[in-house]
Symmetry: C2
Subunit: 142 residues, 2 copies
DNA sequence: CCTAGTCGCAACAGCTTCTGTTACAACCAC
DNA sequence: GTGGTTGTAACAGAAGCTGTTGCGACTAGG
């Protein structure tokens, strides 16, 4: 159960909010989102809470409360969603510093950092090119 | 301690093997590699064992045993190394199947699969463009 | 043949992360 | 007020990664 499904959960919730808004259904509760994702309402609140801190969704408290998009779905990229819910880079360097008396140990970290940076930028470019509106369009094309 | 340093460990070991070969030092033991990575010999053997199954390194048993590259470092890309030691995709879909009675639940998985596939391909292109020889050159440029 | 040095592998502990769950305080429309 | 909802803390269970120990298998050299 290690894999990284946070972006999947968040994108699912946002697409659902976008569809509800388009249908004029107003806000959705975390229970309603959880029913579509087949997960737990607290888990959904955790994810939507991170999206709220990033300014992507809005929440209303109290009775008749619930969640809605803070912006048009065309203006929310998967890159923003990813950054909001999962800041981890795809690759990590050594956990403990390598042996600096070895020439490889001295130079390996900057060398790999360069490669890893390029990989991450490539990833971010692809995520930036897709919006929640794109996802919702694909979702409904069945 | 969750992050993914397997590619880092493997690339470090391979660069070290490439440098030893260039210096005419013959094979390296897992203890010697572990001393440079500052890790445990068994951990290194685990990593090099996966590289051996992928055909990237060779091992000699018995006394005077050790590891060496199976190919020229110019012919080993980081993509092959990555595939050998870490087959996990960067993103996962839902752990449990979403609610198929919801239009979003029905269409979300194929929609995200497409995006995730493009992200992974972009990542793989960057990794394929770098060889162990490139890494070693960068390492020694300090 | 025997020995010493090395790999292969299984088993385990400690740590971290993720998901899911329960419980309860805070909040607000009515 | 009341009822429905969010915010958050606390916890359990599962999984993965690193590090460690132990032992069998293998082989160069004497």
């Amino acid at each position: 159960m290690a894999a990284n499904s946070r972006l999947t959960i968040a994108a699912h919730a946002l697409a659902w909010l976008a569809l509800a808004h388009r249908r004029g259904e107003g806000v959705l509760t975390s229970e309603q989102v959880a029913a579509s994702v087949k997960s737990n309402a607290v888990v959904i609140r955790r994810s939507l809470g991170e999206l709220r801190r990033a300014g992507l969704v809005e929440v209303r408290h109290g009775a008749g409360a619930g969640w809605s998009l803070a912006r048009a779905p065309e203006g929310i990229s998967l890159l923003e969603v990813h950054d909001a819910v999962d800041g981890r880079p795809p690759f990590a360097l050594h956990h403990s510093e390598p042996n600096l008396e070895c020439p490889v140990g001295r130079g390996i970290r900057p060398a790999l950092s360069g490669v890893y940076g390029r990989v991450e930028q490539a990833m971010r470019r692809e995520l930036a090119a897709v919006t929640i509106a794109d996802v919702l369009r694909d979702v409904l094309r069945e």
